[in-house]
């Protein structure tokens, strides 16, 4: 039996095709989010990647910020439940998940059985999210994917506000104007994100293993900063952008079995 999970985020669309609820047979990531061509493209792409036709798929579950407007799925489930499901599948030892997406950040608490028992989300603010990194990378004139490497060469600690993206942007411009090194500023930016998200994680109650998911989990600079602030090892999920879609695909499988 094949099922598909689609995660329509604010800045990227992700999809996973699953065989018998266990084996990933295809996946796709399109780097544009809800309200763009991304949802339609990721839908077509995941079928191609898995070599499947729509009639060969038993059930589709959609999740993510754009889940309510996507019409090709059989059901929609919140991204919090899907991340919990996906991460538990990949890393059953995970008890805390920190998910940093394009425009929100979440901390999730899992039971040993992998069920979601509590969560905290960021408030109406881009600080501590992928959007914050995008804005800062632009000022530093680097691709967001290059920020981690840049920060790894930092020699001096620079503090950047974690309260407001707009204030932080002005702060970074001032630091650049003051002749501070881009490497140090990049490291400061990662500490800013990590500080903000660590606050969320502490509110939900941190219990190891702590797993980082979402697009920002690909940034080693943020992982280093989070490990330092939380004083523990932070494990990036093996396929951090896809855990929500994977969880949705597993939910789709569970539902399909129940409906049989």
């Amino acid at each position: 039996m094949y099922t598909i999970g689609i995660d329509i985020g604010s800045t990227a669309c992700k999809a996973v095709a699953l065989k018998d609820g266990k084996e990933i047979v295809g996946s796709s990531i399109i780097q544009t989010g809800t309200g763009t061509s991304g949802p339609g493209r990721v839908y077509e792409d995941v079928f191609k990647a898995a070599g499947l036709m729509p009639e060969g798929v038993s059930r589709i579950v959609v999740t993510g910020y754009g889940r309510l407007t996507f019409e090709k799925a059989d059901n929609q489930i919140s991204e919090l439940s899907c991340h919990a499901k996906g991460v538990h599948f990949l890393m059953p030892q995970a008890r805390t998940i920190i998910d940093i997406g394009g425009q929100d950040a979440k901390a999730l608490k899992l039971s040993p059985a992998g069920t979601l028992t509590g969560f905290v989300m960021n408030d109406k603010c881009a600080a501590g999210t992928g959007r914050f990194l995008d804005v800062m990378a632009k000022i530093l004139e680097v691709d967001v994917g290059e920020l981690a490497e840049l920060s790894s060469r930092s020699t001096e600690r620079i503090s950047i506000s974690n309260v407001c993206t707009v204030f932080a942007e002005s702060e970074v411009i001032s630091q650049l104007a003051a002749g501070k090194k881009r490497e140090d500023i990049a490291a400061g930016i990662h500490m800013s994100v990590a500080n903000r998200v660590a606050g969320l994680a502490r509110r939900v109650g941190i219990e190891p293993d702590v797993v980082l998911t979402g697009g920002v989990a690909q940034n080693l600079g943020v992982i280093r900063a989070m490990s330092e602030i939380l004083e523990m090892n932070i494990l990036p999920a093996p396929m951090p952008q896809l855990t929500g879609a994977l969880g949705a695909a597993i939910f789709a499988y569970d539902e399909a079995i129940k409906l049989k």
């Binding site: 910020y65 919140s78 509590g118 905290v120 989300m121 408030d123 109406k124």
Partner: protein, 373 residues
């Protein structure tokens, strides 16, 4: 007996048109309307003076002029009350009574007085030490000041007998609303979160006897229906949950309100004013002494937490939604205690920050909470 839907339609309509209600009362009676600020005001005194007590619980408005007087971290319900005063929305309100229940209210009263000189301002203070006799005596004297100001506005003296009659009228309303809350919990198929809120809220914009009669009629009609506890049952706690968009998200995600602990709702009518024990004014002041379960009423034992836990059991609530009024210090101070207590009891808890509008993430938060339940 009328169909319950007819009664609900009336109450919902009233809850959506408070200013029309004020205009209609004034045109019909020639009497004045007195705005009662959140959260607790002795509205009985307004009624006893023959005037219309109107609950002023703000609304969804873009606060612009109010920011000239208060900082951005002022709670939205009070900021929007000031905005409505400044932009003329409250032009048919003749005076406002503002209780000094929190730091924001203390300052806002002064701001309102200066910023909206066209509306008479009556401010009073609740005693912190409310359990001692001196506290009751102090509050009686504060209520005396409020009454004197009201007498000046209405131009007549208000007798103790009139206050006593007003207490009876308001207690009847409290009893009707308690009955409604109990029945609403057993008829969640009909009484959705939005409807439940409208029934209670409409009481702030109707003459009390009329509201009591309608609520009792509604309760009779509900009693005749089969019990239906449809949905995942939750308890709402906080200052208020006034946003229909947010309440509809609860319904859309299969949640039903088992009971509430909201200042705008159950906390208003959980206790009656004592029907015996001294003058009417004294008994009115006694209400604040017997009142429990609110972050705004000083209680070193924090009985509110246990009261919520008891209600979780009594009304079979599977989860608690904390409707945290943004920037409300008193409620924020209670939250860690409540969170700990609920965790110990194994009751899932959702923290929702309440602002002018349902936040963009409200759908995701509530849906995920429903999925947990």
């Amino acid at each position: 007996m009328r169909n319950y839907q007819e009664i609900l339609d009336t109450l919902i309509d009233v809850s959506k048109h408070p200013l029309r209600q004020v205009k209609e009362f004034k045109a019909r009676t020639g009497h004045k309307a007195i705005g009662c600020f959140p959260e607790y005001v002795p509205s009985e005194l307004v009624y006893a003076a023959g005037m219309f007590p109107v609950g002023l619980w703000g609304g969804s408005v873009e606060n612009s002029r109010a920011k000239e007087y208060v900082p951005a971290f002022c709670c939205y319900v009070l900021m929007s009350d000031l905005e409505y005063g400044l932009n003329g929305t409250y032009k048919d309100i003749d005076a406002v009574i503002i209780p000094s229940l929190c730091d924001t209210l203390k300052c806002l009263g002064q701001n309102f007085k200066v910023a909206v000189p066209s509306i008479k301002h009556i401010q009073f203070t609740y005693p912190q030490m409310r359990k001692i006799e001196a506290g009751v005596t102090f509050l009686e004297s504060e209520y005396g000041r409020v009454l004197a100001a009201l007498e000046e506005i209405c131009g007549t003296k208000v007798t103790d007998k009139a206050i006593s009659e007003a207490i009876n009228v308001f207690n009847d309303n409290r009893r009707a609303l308690r009955r409604f809350v109990g029945l609403a919990s057993e008829h969640t198929d009909v009484i959705t979160p939005v409807i439940r809120h409208a029934v209670i809220k409409s009481g702030f914009f109707m003459e009390k006897p009329q509201h009591t009669a309608l609520v009792n009629e509604l309760c009779d009609a509900l009693s005749a229906l089969p019990v239906s506890k449809k949905g995942k049952r939750v308890l709402l706690t906080g200052i208020m949950a006034d946003d229909d968009a947010m309440l509809n998200i609860l319904t859309d995600n299969g949640l039903a309100i088992a009971v509430d602990d909201l200042a705008q709702e159950t906390r208003q009518f959980r206790y009656d004013v004592p029907s015996e024990g001294g003058s009417a004014m004294h008994r009115l002041a006694m209400w604040w002494q017997i009142f429990e379960g609110c972050s705004l009423a000083y209680d070193p034992e924090k009985k509110r937490i246990d009261m919520i836990l008891e209600d979780v059991d009594k009304y079979d609530a599977k989860g608690v939604i904390v409707c945290m009024m943004k920037f409300c210090d008193p409620e924020e101070y209670d939250y860690p205690l409540l969170k700990d207590a609920l965790e110990k009891k194994g009751v899932p808890c959702l923290y929702m920050e309440i602002d002018q509008k349902a936040e963009a993430q409200a759908q995701t938060r509530i849906q995920a909470f429903s999925e947990i339940l």
